[in-house]
């Protein structure tokens, strides 16, 4: 993302949409309270348009807000967000005609956490961060330091197949081709190399830290059930105490519910305050679905949702 021009274009287009009454809301990003961070901006007011930003730190998946907004919505969408939107359209959760999608071709989102670690600096000590192709230039006390982009982007971005939005009305900037790095599969591969008992034990340890705050669920654009099974009381599927067993079952079922709809955008992992590697679950589920049904979530709004559909030729060799 060469951000200045894209940002200007976005502000122009978004302002026009609001003024012309083509949309009731604009959903985008604005500067966050901490340095370099961004936070979602949802507005009806044309004066807020100049608060909109596009930079390599626009982490949230804005598709999350679509179901809460009534009327027509103009939404800023990176590649992954646009796929979540398509997924919601497939599930009849949002109506395409009510959306104006402002697509942003994305070159990957920088993980501040990774960057701080690699630069051995707190983000407060960093003056500026700029993205140039495969490098990230970090300015510390007036001095430039170059870091390889692949080391500081979120893992989910390394596996990104569609950096250019699959669905958009206005494209801000030039389309980008995917550059997929095998590094994105590093955690899944590591787990797969372990014997089964140790894999289970790994998750037991991870989910012992989980406090069931539901940040994963609440940040997930396609976790939209009005009542989640974990809150049901008749029957009570899982106890409300956050024991690892219950935490793990919650997450297993969540992933099964998201099969064919999860685009592996990584919102859950970023939201997790306990740093549980949730993408090692979502990534695997994404690959299972792709292997079995050659189905990539959120790539074609005309397709029936994976789990509401079947083919006579579906694999069934595991059935006696």
């Amino acid at each position: 993302m060469k951000d200045r021009s894209v940002e200007q274009k976005l502000r122009g287009e978004a302002g026009e949409l609001l003024v012309a009454g083509k949309v009731d809301y604009i959903v985008g990003f604005e500067r966050g309270s901490l340095k370099f961070t961004t936070t979602p901006l949802i507005t009806k007011d044309g004066n807020d348009i100049n608060r909109l930003v596009i930079n390599p730190f626009i982490t949230s998946n804005l598709a999350k807000f679509l179901m809460e907004l009534k009327g027509r919505v103009g939404i800023v969408a990176k590649g992954c967000d646009s796929r979540s939107i398509v997924s919601l359209i497939q599930d009849n959760k949002v109506i395409r005609e009510n959306l104006v999608i402002l697509g942003v071709p994305c070159s990957g989102i920088i993980s501040l956490h990774k960057l701080e670690k690699l630069a051995a600096r707190d983000s407060e000590e960093i003056r500026d961060i700029t993205r140039e192709d495969d490098r990230v230039i970090v300015n510390i006390g007036g001095e430039d330091r170059e870091l390889p982009a692949a080391e500081v982007l979120f893992d989910s971005c390394l596996a990104c197949e569609f950096p250019t939005p699959k669905e958009y009305d206005i494209l801000l900037g030039e389309p980008r081709a995917a550059t997929i790095s095998q590094n994105a599969w590093k955690n899944v591969k590591k787990l797969e190399a372990l014997p089964p008992e140790e894999r289970w034990y790994f998750w037991e340890k991870e989910f012992s830290r989980c406090t069931r705050c539901y940040a994963c669920r609440n940040s997930c654009p396609i976790c939209f059930c009005q009542q989640c099974f974990v809150e049901e009381t008749e029957p009570q599927w899982i106890a409300s105490v956050p024991r690892w067993q219950e935490n793990f079952i919650f997450q297993i079922i969540r992933n099964i519910h998201l099969a064919g709809r999860c685009t592996d955008c990584g919102a859950c992992e970023r939201a997790c305050p306990a740093n549980i590697p949730l993408r090692s679950l979502t990534r695997k589920m994404y690959d299972i679905v792709d292997d079995l049904y050659q189905f990539k979530a959120g790539t074609d709004k005309g397709l029936a949702p994976l789990m509401a559909h079947y083919e006579n030729t579906d694999p069934g060799d595991f059935i006696r």
Binding site: I249, I252, A259, M307, Y310, F318
Partner: protein, 142 residues
């Protein structure tokens, strides 16, 4: 606590009321022998079986879960078993990745006339689970 030598696998079967459940009945009335390790819950359709049922069974200590329904094309509700097939395929692969022995999740198509096949399936999966050993997935002592 049971002694290790006396351990017997405990299996939970979700059987479709239109075919597999009747198949199990037929196995009984035609005096086919099958092990008592399999406890049966009758469901309206194999498509009724939710991933939660399977995980709940494993959490409560069942050593394996069997989902059995009508052969493809023979579902009383036309397509329930096709949906079950998709769901089970995904559940099985995903749980295997997490570290659950694949033998713990079993599936079969058994029609109402296949009493013999039902007994066979029950025998086979009991033997497989006997080899896999007790389910200690959700216990705290390991």
């Amino acid at each position: 606590m049971r002694e290790e030598s006396k351990w017997e696998p405990r299996l939970l079967g979700f059987l479709c009321r239109w075919c597999s459940y009747a198949g199990a009945d037929l196995a009984g009335t035609s005096r086919k022998k099958y092990p008592p390790n399999l406890r049966i819950i009758r469901v309206p359709c194999s498509g009724r079986v939710d991933a939660l049922f399977i995980l709940k069974a494993l959490q409560q200590g069942f050593d394996g879960v069997l989902v059995s329904g009508c052969h493809p094309g023979e579902c009383h509700y036309q397509v329930g078993n096709y949906h079950a097939r998709r769901r089970l395929a995904i559940i099985k692969k995903f749980l295997e990745y997490l570290g659950v022995a694949p033998q713990r999740i079993q599936a079969a198509w058994v029609s109402a006339s296949e009493g013999g096949k039902f007994a066979e399936v029950a025998n086979e999966i009991t033997e497989e689970l006997r080899e896999v050993g007790p389910n200690k997935l959700f216990t705290d002592e390991r």
